[in-house]
Amino acid sequence: MKEKRLLSLLLTVMLAIAAFAQNQTFTGKVVDPNGEPVIGATIVQKGTSNTTVTDFDGNFSINAPAGAELEITFVGYGKQTVLAGNDMHIVISEDAELLNELVVIGYGVQKKSVVTASIAKVSAEDLAGKTRLRAEDALKGLAAGVNVISSSGQPGSQSMIRIRGIGTINDSNPLYIIDGMPTDQYGMESVNPNDIESIEVLKDAASGAIYGARAANGVILVTTKKGRMGKASINYDFSYGWQSAWRKRSVTGATDYAILQNERRVQNGLSPLYQDPYNLVDANGDKIVGFGTNWQELLFNDNAPIMQHDVSISGASEKVNYYLSLGYFTQDGIVGGNFGQSNYDRLTIRANNMFNLIDATKERNFLNKLDLGTNLSYMRVHSTGIEANSTWGSPLGSALYLAPTLPVTLRGAVAQEMMDRYSAFDLYKDENGNPYTIPGFIGSYQEQNNPIAMMHGNPNKNWSHKFMPKFSVDLQLYDALKYHFTYSAELSFWGYSGATLQEYYLSGNNNADHTSAVSFKGNNSTWQVENTLTYDKTFGKHTIGVVLGQSALKFKGDELGGSHWYLVNPNKPSINYTTGGDLEISTDADGKMTGATSLVGVWGGPYTEHRLSSLFARVSYNYDERYMFQATVRRDGSSRFGSNHRYGVFPSFSLGWNIMNEKFMEDQRDWLNNLKLRFSWGKNGNDNIGDFAYTTMTTLGNTSNYYFGQTGAMVYGSKANRLANEDLKWEESEQTDLGIDFGFWNNKLTFSFDYYIKKTNGMIIEMPIPSYVGEARPLANVGDMENSGVEFELGYRWNISDAHFHLGGNASYLKNKLKNLGNDTGFLNYGISQFSDGGTRAENGQPFPFFYGYKTDGILQNKAEADAYNNMYGTSSNPGDFRFVDTNGDNKINSDDRTNIGNGVPDWTFGLTFDVDWKGFDFGVFFQGVHGADVFDATYRQDIASGNYPTWVLQRWTGEGTSNTVPTLGDSKNWVCSDMYIQDGSYLRLKNITLGYTLHPSLTNKIGISRLRIYGRAENLFTWTKYWGFDPEIGSGSTSLGVDYGIYPQARTFTVGCNLSF
């Protein structure tokens, strides 16, 4: 409120002053490069709120002092400045802005034309409409070299982001910097994408080096919006969408299921189960018609709503710059969202302000400008979630396994029988009081649960609040020497509350024999103080920029959780409102105590603090914007490093040559306006190495306890936690980048190419020492990983009469190799849940991670082939079994024949955007895809005897010549971890298609609205892929990349919305 009054006061004063100056009415006309009048272009007297708009003929008139600067802007064109005069004729040009574009680099900005490092920039325009929740998701397909893989389609889920490949087997997440504050993906959740001015991705070592020990995996810089000079702009954006699953998995229906079940039993020497697969009756005695129970259909929540409201008010004057916004986002999940099991809603509030306190630049040369900045943001989230990718009883995973012959609920006598069997429990029932079928009661399903019954459970309610304040002071000290101070903080409070409301039974390992309530709260606080001195000056043809800085950061936090059994009232679950005391004593018939159970659970404690203390310096120099040089060095000390290597020094340098600005290129300048060669080299570090890894401390673990005494009483022990390695230090990444940028016809066509090699030295893993040392091996910097690749970026703008077109594309190719794991065996098995003989693996000389298993070569079709195969390899296979490949040529088929059968990291990632706007209509298409990634389809588990089958199993071998890809159902040796499960995960997705219409300004101006745009959008409309699963994009966890356990897919969403500006 106070600000508004101050603003009004300032405006009044300025207007009054303006009125005293000599004002005249000036007229002019604005046309585009083709001579056509521009309607609705804005003309502003610079530094004032005096504005006007061109009419249908492109004419305007404005009341201003003679010679005042007038700025002309129009959407899609660069800003132009002219001096007020009579009969102005202005031709707008699209490229003015592009040529002077600024790029944010760490601790400063740089003109794009002199950037020597490899930085990808995504502007607010590019971001618009691409993402609602997480800004980093918008980088998918927009920035070359950045691979964004969704982990699932669950509302609120984080994507996995890798910049230029997976750098290490440990933590490969990039560093996120929001307005100078370092944070992680949880911090990114608090930034409303609408509030973002630009995102710069620092891909190479030279650009990241200024962040030293945390930049080995790349840096993502986020800059939030500021106000624009001129009158206050008020924006309101609204959208509402309907989400549905874009594909359901093809599984067998009741008849096919029965046929396959019988076949498998017979092959295993048992009698068939279903007398007549064509006339089936379910457990309730009802006849099964057609498909039977379609579990996926029942589970997916079609047309789940997703809605967003955003309001922002911003403006600026010479003294004040403000940007205020409020955002509200809510999303129901397409699985479980209608039951409150998978929902997300977020509120964000932001206030970015800049105040100019002293401006004495005209009077003196020292201490002449003082600006104070405050950026404050607040986020609050409420969410619930389900298990998104698991074959051990997740809702979607279970839906794939439950037989179509199972009814959703049981009725009558069979229902009573089930309830009697589980009389100790209180089963989930539907609204008619019928209990939901427990799969294990009818067949053998291991841990699979009835997914509809699961929807009736009580989900944990997650909540979180985050405050990110930032205070900065900019003081111009002397000449071009500036001092900049910032204090930023991140305060997070989060937790969940949950309760088991009834003694439910879903399956053998998902049941409860008592009610309980649990509650957990955690909080973190991180503060950072930074002092920087900058000096930017141009002396003739020399331009020099120097940054000297110091930074200190401290993180601390703690958590507390508690639980208690036996709720008094399931409608009011809380820890205090429980009964039973703290201990439950059990006695036998004679009253003798036989045991005790604790009813209370409690845990908590502080997190280990993390502190960072750094000094950094950067020098940028260019001569005549032709020869550029930049060097950076940063020295970081971290509390995670032992005293042997407390401080790390990370240097880098980069060189650039603007060939375009050379005299000998003068003739080419009409068609070639940019030709720049870049080279960079540098070292960055990764300090996410765990705390206290360099020393030994005591640990109380349960491997130290033993029973003593005749009655066996537990005695608690302790021991040294590990062997120490005092020389442990950060993982270091060394990267070399070579790039070339082209610009044709005033940047109408731009093209850019980069080649890079990134080596990670000293990857941390256990030392390769013998196991007879008797203790967990010490960690050491012994591994090496290499990533190399090329990146291409292309942009093309053109006009046809008054339609403006823009085409943008990027493609990256990545090659990853784990050169040396560094441990004693040279490999590490990560496994895939249900396979004991293969899975994902890390191995010397292979890409990381890769799929490891047997290779198959068709199926043995007849006895002759089977005999030949058995004679050769000493196996005992029958026709219908796989022919496994003897990869090591030792004439034996055994575990040594396992090999690299694929990997989940794509070779190529690419994106393509196409935008058109014409007479108020705007149309945009965005494609994104990958090529060369494999998916491991781990959704079919052989060990679930009554489980349903994916339809590809119908192609199993049933006689000679019937199949060469799917073996017989019976024998388990065919279903080992092999390339049978590897599918091509390459895909091309029409990620975004939007059609919008902006009402003509002259219509809307009458009601005070300067811009009204309505639009319709479809997201994930089509996905072209060979993979038959729910989604080819599976980014959960860096070692199970590409493993599909029944992944919760991304939704196809149809949205309508509007953008209003006042």
């Binding site: 291991q446 002397y478 502190r611 030994t696 306890n705 029973y707 005749q710 005695v715 022990g717 302790s718």
Partner: protein, 380 residues
């Protein structure tokens, strides 16, 4: 110009001087651990380290990687028992050993890791016992002797099963290698150590009931006799015999009048018992995924008939896996009226269950990885 540069340089220097942080800033405390020298100074904490040295005793039956119950390991190379299981890939390493077909991938591999962990913990306990602190000299002496005796026992197992193993009496540091010694050399290192422990007379002949489970002087005597006989060290036979006579004469030990009672829960730590490895399923922390925690044992499940539902004292739902079935020939070696036969052998021919089972230990509450049995299919 020069004035500019001087002023700027001066400001930069002042800047750096004022804003840098001291080294102390980077020191943080570990919220859940202490530096070793500061912690192991009282009797209570030293006892914790000693307990950690005892813990590996109970790991072999299931340590998260393989089943290597010492009873089974001790029998499969003999001919009184079959290996059992569902087929010859079920606990393949036992089958391979039984058929003299073992290779590098199929041995009692986990015993190696389990007992070297024990040796490392014993070495640590001996080291901590030697530090100054508040603990009494008697306590520290007793702790040292217990740890040294346990260490002899751990090496004994490795010596039996592997023969020529790496040997060290002080924990390793860079480059973490130890010399491999031949079985005889190891014997010649272990026996003097054992003799020294016995000669010190620090350990009691038998611990009071509340401390049952700790290694005692009688245990040392038994270990001595066992090793001496295994090695055929005739020079020490007389001494071993003397130790055995000492045990017989000692008032703490006598035969249990009922052979049957030895194998009941009430018979645990009876007068006949010299040493037992404690398992318990009350207060148990042990589970399939936390196999090294203290808790029950999987041995009764291993050697019960396949599919047996469990008897009195078992948690519901556990069934047997059919390992280590006794050979009929071994059963027939007992005389008809031998009281030990029916206590030792559970005759399940004809499926007539008797309740007199080897209920020496109570089994852990095992979590079933499988769901309920299929109603329509009998278990194979």
């Amino acid at each position: 110009m020069k004035k500019h540069i001087c002023i700027i340089a001066g400001l930069c220097a002042a800047f750096l001087a004022l804003t840098a942080c001291s080294d102390d800033f980077l020191e943080v405390k570990n919220p859940t651990g202490e530096p070793l020298e500061e912690y192991y100074t009282t009797e209570e904490t030293l006892n914790e380290a000693l307990t950690a040295a005892y813990a590996p005793l109970h790991w072999p039956d299931w340590d998260g990687t393989a089943y290597n119950d010492l009873t089974v390991d001790g029998e499969i190379m003999g001919d009184d028992f079959w290996v059992g299981g569902s087929d010859n890939t079920d606990n393949q390493h036992w089958h391979r050993l039984f058929n003299f077909e073992a290779d590098g991938n199929n041995t009692l591999a986990t015993l190696w890791g389990d007992f070297y962990s024990g040796i490392k913990r014993c070495n640590d306990a001996i080291k901590y016992a030697s530090w100054d602190g508040e603990a009494s000299a008697d306590f520290r002496r007793s702790m040292e002797m217990q740890a040294r005796l346990l260490r002899v026992y751990y090496y004994n197992i490795l010596w039996h099963y592997y023969g020529n193993v790496p040997f060290y009496l002080e924990n390793l540091s860079q480059p973490y290698t130890a010399p491999q010694m031949s079985a005889d050399e190891i014997y010649n290192k272990l026996l003097p150590e054992l003799e020294e422990i016995i000669a010190s007379n620090v350990l009691p002949m038998r611990w009071p009931n509340a401390e049952a489970g700790r290694v005692s002087q009688a245990f040392a005597y038994m270990l001595y006799a066992e090793m001496v006989m295994y090695q055929n060290d005739q020079a020490r036979y007389a001494q071993a015999l003397a130790y055995m006579k000492q045990i017989i004469a000692d008032s703490n030990y006598k035969l249990n009048p009922s052979f049957y009672d030895l194998w009941q829960e009430s018979g645990e730590w009876c007068a006949e018992s010299i040493f037992e490895i404690n398992y318990n399923d009350d207060q148990a922390q042990r589970d399939w995924s936390t196999s090294m925690a203290a808790g029950g044992t999987v041995f009764p499940t291993l050697c019960s008939p396949n599919g047996w539902g469990g008897g009195e004292g078992w948690d519901s739902g556990n069934d047997g896996w059919g390992f280590l079935p006794m050979r009929v020939e071994a059963y027939n070696m007992y005389a008809e009226n031998d009281a030990r036969r029916d206590v030792t052998c559970w005759d399940v021919r004809g499926y007539s269950y008797t309740e007199r089972y080897l209920a020496r230990q109570v089994s852990p509450p095992e979590r079933q990885q499988q769901g309920l049995p299929d109603l329509q299919e009998p278990e194979l």
